[in-house]
Symmetry: C2
Subunit: 569 residues, 2 copies
């Protein structure tokens, strides 16, 4: 495995040995390490000093179920801090097939010409891409597959990334060639756009899966893990309902964001539930209630939504989108939500950030909650790049600023996901403290809330989840694969030993997670973050959440001391 | 002298003794002390936890020439840090006549009703002001004078403050009842608006100038100072040309911001020069080339601009506005600039922040440099509160964000003033490091550049100027009075001893300035600022400034170490 460095201004590239300090990191942890080692933390996120990093996780490359995720990283144009955002699809696997441990894009071209970065066993090539400029995501993907073959992997940006919107993600082809697997959060699509790269095409032909030091040991650990995963009841739930199963669960907890986080239960939650979605998809031609985003996934939490005539609308429709573009906007029609999602995917924007921005915009008087036609019109304004559209493209905080709305649910510049922190307080601690900004994937505690843990437990729950997620994201493991690994945690050190021939201790998982958080916090400190930034927005501490009246009650000192022991180590 | 505390939600108020730690501070220094002692630095600037503070400087109250300035303070909605912004006019003097050392407005009403805060020898009263809502600044002033008498002092906000725009200032009546003396920078008008105070009316009737411990000593020091001020050649220059004398001087240095800081000389500088302005005003009925903003001022740097028929347009038209709304926008017509200034004053916004925002907007394609009609139309969009107008009302950084412009001349969220830091590097150090954000009044070094000091000297020049300005702003002394005090520095300790009967050392001026900066930096640290925020924007370090090709070359370690000795003391 090598480091591939590509300079986007000179178009020179090198294949370099992996520095020793990077060796035992991958994915999210490696991104933090590379950012600390190779860029100035005060560089402008859209200037020549930022890096765009693609790092497959440590376990990527062998089609371990749900373990082929690709991490994208850089300094976030949304938060101004460290950013890692990961996705499924083919990209991670294809990079490892070329022996790429990490791909680093440096610099920024001076000319306004666009490029496809083509990676293959032949190395790196810049292909002119001016003809792709302005194309939406799937149109871009189709053009790339026509040009380079159906077998390629690709990471690409839509118009939002070209326009440098901090809501822009990077979309990856799924196993069916749909540009749906978006590394959505934190604006890394804009970083890619600033480097004038419309797409990174990876042609794995002639490549090989990375070598395995102990094939028998690897097979054995894999088998144990896969069986544990398949046996977990949650795996079947995800296959049947996808992430949308969360709608009624969160609604029951009183933590389903509704009308810009002004309520925690939505009167029409049933209408947008996973159960209703499944019913709808079962009745439609060409729809799928279950679908795998990457080859070999046993969970298959994805789905394919079609309209009543069977025409493709969007894939997948997930809980976060249903909540942030549904209940959070007062919308109760899954088809309307799917159409909003579709435009978001075509533009290449994060549905969480844009969903929250639309909620803030409704509160600011730009439109009315519950008006699906108006919501669709605003998405079209984004598409056509009007001033209103450009404003929405900046995300929730900027919309709140321009419209004079103080009730903006965001931390470190990034919008919260679909778990109101007043009802799901451990996740609130994660929002407040994660180096990534408000982000449920940095450490969600929603399942633990089923047992109504006391407020004194919430910080500990968050820390545990943050360490685990940082480790999974470093391994390239999907969060849902964690149901399997949690049952057979010994398989993680076993897989690492078997694949790499390393001596690793039994608590390597904990070590990876803790080290990743330490590195990320070090980058953020140098970039200008301080304890003052580790907090929920003030209004959210003042307002109780109807109908339960929940308040965020985690003591300030739990939050300020959360990482103390981890950082003292 | 007392502390007057007013709670804007309960409408309760108290008159309290001055805490010992506040006794020997006034104006800007006292504001920093009060913010540190009385609010949480992480409170939202527009939430109930922020304070609006009015603090006359230590020398205010006796009509010492150019020494009756009023400081406004709070946590800035523009920068998120400490903010002090001061103005001339009657307000400072009137507060001291009521024995008010500092007025602190706390809390925030829940109801959307508006109030006039009325201060007199009878104490504090909340008078309903719903009929004033939406009124522009002068209309508000006129209504207040009709209601409360021509003799009042008043600090008021225009529509911008009501709309909570972070470009909104607080306007004070000048000696002629014109609402022109704006505490412009940092959005304190929005803080006032968040507390639903349309105006603070101060009726000095029955009040008395604060007592003087040693009247003979005071008279003597005052005489020495006034003579030194009158004898200074700069005093006559300001009387003849006002601050506009700076246009050709800065142009000569190659530091006159032109077309969003893309050039340092403006081809039409002559057409907007102080000389041309004087000529124009001399030829117009009812215009004045010289005018005093407060009673007793010997400098009279203000002016009154009328149109060719003699109708009032604006007072004063100053250098900062001429540059930021003139050369910075490619506009070469003083009448057009005066009309932009007029709308800004009517709305109650900072012409620096809005001028820079318009420059960024031109760079972002919203209009074209040099098109005076388009510029006027955008000011009208601000007036009518369209989405475009609201965007401009957020200031330069937000405009840059929404329009995707990286070339935003701002530090800590606040736009630079009319001295390009590449040509006037000491002022660049001030922009980079001042706790106030980019602000020439925090320590301008433009005059020292006449001698072409080497780059190694620039940080020292900035520190010296920052300490001096922090001291003047704590004393309530106009920067231009500094020409006088610099000749007879012993008069400052003499005046303080004579007025208060304090024992103060001869270097009290230095002590006041240094203490003020220390307090401000302590507040900012707690509010979330770190060394990463003490820097010019990245693009400005990359681009040389035409036509001189000047670069900002002050070494990073000079900037990072600027306050080291001051803070170690």
């Amino acid at each position: 495995m090598h480091v591939w460095r590509v300079h986007t201004e000179t178009q020179e590239w090198t294949r370099e040995p992996v520095p020793p300090a990077w060796e035992r990191l991958g994915g999210r942890g490696l991104i933090a390490r590379v950012l600390l080692d190779r860029m100035s933390p005060v560089a402008h996120p859209l200037g020549p000093g930022n890096l765009l990093i693609l790092a497959p996780g440590l376990l990527v490359g062998h089609r371990l179920s749900s373990c082929d995720r690709i991490s994208f990283g850089g300094k976030s144009p949304l938060t101004g801090g460290v950013k890692e955002s990961n996705a499924g699809g083919r990209t991670g696997w294809a990079l490892t097939a070329l022996g790429i441990k990490v791909l680093i894009l440096e610099g920024r071209p001076r000319e306004d010409r666009w490029w496809v970065l083509h990676l293959s066993t032949q190395g790196v090539r810049f292909d002119p891409a001016d003809d792709l400029v302005g194309l939406e995501a799937q149109a871009t993907a189709d053009r790339l597959m026509a040009r380079y073959g159906e077998h390629i992997a690709a990471a690409l940006i839509g118009p939002a990334g070209e326009r440098l919107w901090p809501t822009a993600g990077i979309q990856n082809l799924d196993k069916d060639g749909v540009a749906s697997r978006i590394a959505a959060r934190g604006g890394l699509g804009a970083v890619m756009g600033s480097k004038r790269i419309k797409a990174i095409v990876i042609d794995p032909e002639g490549g090989n899966p990375p070598p395995i030091a102990d094939p028998a040991g690897f097979r054995q650990a894999r088998k144990t893990y896969t069986q544990a995963l398949m046996a977990h009841p949650q795996t079947q739930t995800y296959a049947d309902y996808g992430t949308a199963a969360m709608v009624l669960f969160c609604n029951q907890l009183g933590g389903l964001p509704t009308r810009n986080f002004s309520q925690g239960r939505f009167e029409a939650a049933e209408a947008i539930s996973g159960e209703r979605l499944r019913e709808m998809l079962l009745a439609r031609p060409n729809a799928h209630t279950t679908h795998a985003c990457m080859a070999g996934c046993a969970i298959r939490c994805s789905n394919v939504v079609t309209d009543p005539r069977g025409f493709f609308v969007v894939s997948p429709l997930e809980y976060e989108t249903i909540a942030m573009m549904g209940s959070n906007l007062g919308l109760d029609d899954l088809d309307a939500i799917a159409r909003l999602n579709r435009v978001a995917n075509e533009l290449g924007v994060d549905t969480i950030e844009v969903g929250v921005a639309l909620g803030v915009a409704a509160e600011g008087g730009l439109w009315s909650f519950g008006d699906a036609v108006a919501a669709q019109r605003l998405m079209e304004a984004m598409r056509t790049n009007t001033l209103t559209g450009r404003l929405l493209g900046q995300g929730a905080v900027t919309v709140g600023r321009v419209l004079g709305v103080r009730r903006v649910p965001a931390v470190k510049g990034q919008a919260m996901a679909a778990y109101d922190p007043r009802a799901i307080q451990g996740t609130g601690v994660t929002y407040a403290t994660s180096p990534q900004g408000a982000d449920h994937t940095a450490g969600n505690t929603v399942r633990a809330q089923r047992h109504r843990p006391p407020v004194e437990e919430q910080a500990r729950l968050s820390l545990k989840a943050q360490i685990a997620m940082a480790a999974y994201d470093t391994l390239g493991v999907c969060v849902f694969a964690g149901f399997g690994f949690a049952k057979v945690p010994e398989t993680i050190p076993q897989l690492l030993r078997a694949r790499y021939g390393w001596e690793v201790s039994d608590d390597v998982f904990q070590q990876l997670g803790r080290e990743t958080l330490r590195l990320e916090r070090a980058f953020n400190r140098a970039a200008g973050f301080s304890p003052a930034h580790d907090r929920l927005p003030e209004w959210m501490l003042e307002e109780p959440l109807p109908p339960t009246g929940a308040r965020f009650q985690v003591p300030e000192e739990h939050i300020q001391n959360l990482f103390r022991e981890l950082e003292a180590a």
